[in-house]
């Protein structure tokens, strides 16, 4: 090989390596850019409200009042309610698929069902919720004697629960699969029943991973936009019960961002976006760290 071709190769080598690092840097800049943009853009609102943004509930852009408390309450209420509803189902499926039926056609059906549920876009969940679930909830509300809106916090939470079950279930299944076979065999050979093995060996071992799965699905529920926007009723008042109408931080963004005029209005909406971004970032970092730790221990 002549000296020239070697030099040529070295140049290309260097070019390729800098291309690789450059693409890494782009991702880094992108994420930092998102945070900084949100921070800068929401500064006017943060200064104007002097940190009392989430301490009062009047959201009236016309008269210049921006209190985001009802959105915060709406978000937390729907997300935690959805998590609560989803836990028995996702835990059951995780145990069934992770421990009882690791193969076979029933497992295949169940796995396909979960994949299908995970594949449905959120706008279609919202559409279905609006036209099928909401009328049922309305009937229920008539029977219970509360104002029959049909849409509202409860409807949104049910749809959200349905959307996060596949996610938590498949994470849970993977974590349960990581439980060493020797531990389970030891328990079974000592005469424990399958249930006792699950409760006293498998679940305690997989505990941190399973809770990380729930944490990550909570993050999903907090940030879900379209389905919630379509079935929550979009009221800016503080929700008083699970049958009330409401709004979440994501749904208020979806509803009002394109119509917002006036710098403080837009800036206030971006402040909501900033909070949403920070909370979901913290949740996903903690969740992923726990799961990574579990797989490394393996």
């Amino acid at each position: 090989m002549s000296l020239k071709t070697i030099k040529n190769t070295q140049q290309k080598e260097r070019l390729f390596q800098s291309l690789l690092s450059a693409s890494g840097v782009i991702i880094l800049v992108l994420v930092i850019g998102v945070f900084i943009t949100l921070l800068i853009q929401s500064m006017p609102a943060i200064i104007a409200h002097k940190f009392d943004f989430f301490s009062h509930t009047t959201w009236d852009p016309v008269s210049g009042q921006y209190g985001g408390l009802s959105f915060l309450v709406g978000t937390l209420l729907t997300a935690f309610l959805a998590l609560l509803i989803s836990i028995p189902f996702s835990l059951s499926i995780a145990i069934v698929l992770g421990e009882y039926l690791t193969e076979g056609w029933i497992a295949l059906i169940l796995k396909t069902a979960i994949d299908l549920l995970a594949g449905i876009p959120s706008v279609i969940y919202g559409f279905w919720g609006l036209f099928v679930l909401a009328p049922w909830i309305r009937n229920l509300e008539i029977k219970l004697g509360v104002l029959p809106y049909g849409v509202g916090i409860l409807t949104a939470s049910l749809i959200l629960a349905l959307m996060i079950i596949p996610y938590a279930a498949s994470l849970g299944r993977e974590v349960i699969r990581l439980v060493p076979a020797e531990l389970k065999e030891a328990s079974l050979s000592l005469g424990a029943t399958r249930y006792e093995t699950v409760r006293k060996i498998i679940l305690p071992y997989a505990k941190s991973g399973i809770s990380a799965g729930f944490l990550l699905s909570l993050g999903r529920a907090l940030s879900e936009t379209m389905a919630v926007t379509m079935v929550i009723g979009n009221s800016n008042l503080l929700p008083t019960s699970i049958f009330s109408l409401g709004n979440t931080m994501a749904s208020v963004l979806a509803n009002e961002f394109s119509e917002a005029n006036g710098s403080i209005y837009i800036s206030s909406l971006l402040e909501i976006g900033l909070l949403l971004f920070v909370v979901t970032t913290i949740i996903s970092l903690i969740g992923r760290r726990i799961i990574k730790k579990m797989s490394v221990h393996q």
């Binding site: 080598e13 991702i27 059951s92 876009p121 936009t225 394109s258 970032t281």
Partner: protein
């Protein structure tokens, strides 16, 4: 041990199986209901007109969603244009430089990006692209979807490359093949099916996304091929028509829903087929 306590323990065992089995089966009910609704209502409206014409004004029956089909295709193509090469390169980077501090930071950023709410990506792209151009456009929609595709492509590329045996790379390097050629001609082709799976999954993830398009692509009732104008997309059309008061538009939205779910399932099936090979 007393016989009765053994019986109780066995009973508990069966009860437990019954409960978790029941919960698993219960989940099938909403799934079946959703698909029943999609197929019965959506199936009715899918025909040739539906696929080749643009929507009619409210009150008139007929019309189709051709403009949205074109829009979604264009948006996904624009998104893929940047995010596929960038995603693969970043995936190669974090799998090749595992111990550098920068690649650790990049990996964290990918996790953050994956957890970022889609609506936040929408408002960010609005601030970055729509506001300077002072117009909603297909380009901005493509950027938003591209950002959503990135983490999926990066992660699958990284995972796939991690599975490739070291000996393969070493053999190539030992033959005197330069590093960049080893990556481009040996490592990436070997992991091709895995990377392709990632790309297909990332497309199926964004094909149904609505929130990032609300303030970027914005939607358009008419047909356009221009990347500088507001453009429709199937999920946007579903959202707008589902929340409208017109029965004819609801019909179109059910058809569009069936179409988009069918597309996503097909992409997932193909992705699974590719992985098996």
């Amino acid at each position: 041990m007393k016989k009765s306590s053994l019986k109780i323990r066995h009973a508990k065992n069966y009860l437990f199986i019954g409960i978790i089995g029941l919960c698993s089966i219960l989940l099938m009910i909403p799934l079946i209901l959703i698909f029943y609704q999609l197929i019965t209502l959506g199936g009715k409206s899918i025909n040739l007109t539906f696929l080749t014409q643009i929507p009619k004004s409210p009150g008139e029956s007929g019309g189709g969603i051709y403009n949205a089909i074109v829009g979604t295709t264009l948006l996904v193509a624009l998104a893929s244009l940047v995010s596929i090469p960038l995603g693969i390169l970043t995936g190669v980077y974090i799998s090749e430089y595992q111990n550098s501090r920068l690649s650790g930071a990049v990996r964290t950023c990918v996790d953050i990006l994956q957890g970022t709410p889609s609506i936040v990506i929408g408002i960010i792209v609005y601030t970055w692209v729509v506001r300077p151009m002072s117009q909603f456009s297909a380009i901005s929609g493509g950027v938003a979807l591209g950002i959503m595709m990135l983490p999926v492509i990066i992660k699958t590329t990284e995972e796939t490359l991690g599975l490739i045996p070291m000996s393969l790379k070493e053999a190539s390097l030992a033959l005197g093949v330069p590093y960049y050629k080893t990556i481009l001609k040996v490592v990436i082709p070997t992991g091709f099916s895995g990377i392709l799976t990632g790309i297909l999954l990332s497309i199926s993830r964004v094909a149904g996304e609505t929130a990032p398009l609300l303030f970027t692509a914005f939607g358009n009732a008419f047909l356009t091929y221009s990347i500088f104008k507001p453009i429709s997309a199937i999920p946007l059309l579903i959202f707008n028509y589902a929340t409208s008061p017109y029965e004819e538009w609801h019909q179109l939205a059910w058809g569009a829903s069936l179409l988009v779910v069918g597309m996503i399932l097909l992409l997932n099936l193909v992705a699974k087929g590719v992985t098996k090979r």
